[in-house]
Amino acid sequence: MIDTDDLPDAYKIGSTRNQANTKVSTLLSRISDYAAELQRLTADEDASHIQDALKPVERWYDRSHTVEDLRDWFESLYSCAGTLDVTMRKSYEEALNTLTESPEEVKLTAFGDDVEAFQQLDGTTGPMLVSRLHDFARSRHEQEAWKIYEAFDSLISDLQEEEHSTGADLEHRIKELTEYSEYEQKRQDVMGITEDL
């Protein structure tokens, strides 16, 4: 802790030209304020955007995933979206584009390390947390994997929301047609008349 009360006002900070008129206590209290502010930073309140970004990742990410896996799976889901009439978001197209056109930008290994680090933010405070916040911004910027897993999460959720249609058995459906029973009725009619003839 810094206690500026003990400092006589005579201590000034300045350059040799301007006669040093900033009191040392003022400088120190500013530093103190800054340090106190730093100490007040908590992972819970000031890194909630990291927690949010981690949620979809934690749902789907696994160290065993390869970029090829991700590309195959995303392509599958993408064509399912067409069949299930899911509205295409721009983020889906971008994710598919990255996976197929520039897979080197996904950077899964670095991403995996970062994810693990960001998962251990609990209790991190002060300058350490500030450093983590910067790391996160860098990580998101450098690794497309973040956007890929977000796209997965959102697309999966869209697909799961779609009504599940049941394709009843074809023969069963034909048997339920009015025309199908009418045919038998008409057959009976013909047989009835030919018996009279």
Binding site: E58, R59, W60, D62, H65, D69, W73, S76, L77, S79, C80, G82, T83, L84, F152, I156, S157, L159, Q160, E162, H164, S165, T166, G167, A168, D169, L170, E171, R173, I174, K175, L177, E179, Y180, E182, Y183, E184, K186, R187, D189, V190, M191, I193, T194, D196, L197
Partner: protein
């Protein structure tokens, strides 16, 4: 959303879901094709049934009311109708699907939309339709033959009924019961006989009754029968016909024999009036 599911598991589940939807869409399409096919058959069957009903009507009337003997072709037309409906519902179920055999696996993403395809008849259904059509044609042909023969019967009876009506007119319609029968026969011949929408058995019973009444009045069926029954001379018959046409004769024109004959027959005695 379950967080215990791994990404590949979820992808697989969603693929399955999409595949099922695709299958459902295919099913819907195939159901429409089947429906269209059955409708076409049913519509042909409607025609066949109408033709068969006509045949049944004319054949019944011809045989039972007019003692006609139907052409042999009736049985072959009937057989072809029976052959045309040999396919049971179960068979039909197969027939309307026969074009789907080469459908293969439902692939996701492949855009095999059927919306633009023209719905066509399956080969089996086309076959059955032509069977039904040719049966209908045979039935129509034999019906036409019977109709032709019925028309000759109708013509002959119309001539007979007209002669009897003519006699009734001369005799002044003294036999009310027979006049009613003649009137009824006239209606049956001109209006009911060729109307196949009516009931054949109804026609047969009405006609049979009328004919039995007709037979009870043999002497009133024509002038010849009348002359024969009352043993009238030709000159008397001539004079009665002249009276019925011009309405008058002088006594000078009529022989004593004729006047005697006229007096002898009750119907003539009461029908002929003298006037001054």
């Amino acid at each position: 959303m379950s967080s215990t599911q791994s990404l590949p598991t979820v992808v697989e589940a969603l693929e399955d879901k999409a595949r099922k939807k695709k299958q459902a869409e295919n099913t819907q399409y195939h159901v429409s094709v089947a429906q269209h096919n059955i409708r076409e058959i049913n519509s042909e069957l409607d025609d066949l049934i109408t033709s068969l009903r006509d045949l049944r009507y004319y054949k019944t009337v011809f045989e039972e009311a007019f003692d006609g003997s139907s052409p042999m072709l009736v049985s072959s037309a009937t057989q072809s109708a029976e052959k045309a409906i040999e396919s049971t519902q179960e068979q039909l179920l197969e027939d309307v699907q026969s074009s789907l055999a080469d459908d293969g696996e439902t692939e996701l993403g492949s855009d095999n939309d059927h919306d633009n395809l023209k719905v066509e008849l399956t080969p089996k259904v086309s076959q059955q339709i032509s069977k039904i059509q040719s049966a209908t044609q045979m039935v129509d042909n034999v019906t036409e033959q019977i109709e032709g023969q019925l028309e000759s019967k109708q013509k002959a009876w119309s001539t007979k009924v007209s002669a009897a009506e003519e006699l009734q007119k001369i005799l002044g319609g003294q036999d009310g019961d027979f006049a009613t029968t003649l009137n009824h026969m006239h209606t049956l011949l001109t209006r009911k006989l060729m109307d196949s929408s009516g009931s054949a058995s109804n026609f047969v019973s009405q006609w049979t009754n009328a004919v039995s009444n007709w037979e009870q009045h043999q002497s009133l069926q024509s002038f010849d029968d009348f002359q024969e029954k009352h043993d009238l001379s030709d000159s008397t018959v001539e004079d009665v016909k002249t009276l019925s046409q011009s309405g008058e004769l002088t006594l000078a024109d009529v022989s004593l024999e004729t006047i005697k004959e006229m007096k002898r027959v009750d119907e003539l005695e009461s029908a002929i009036e003298l006037s001054l």
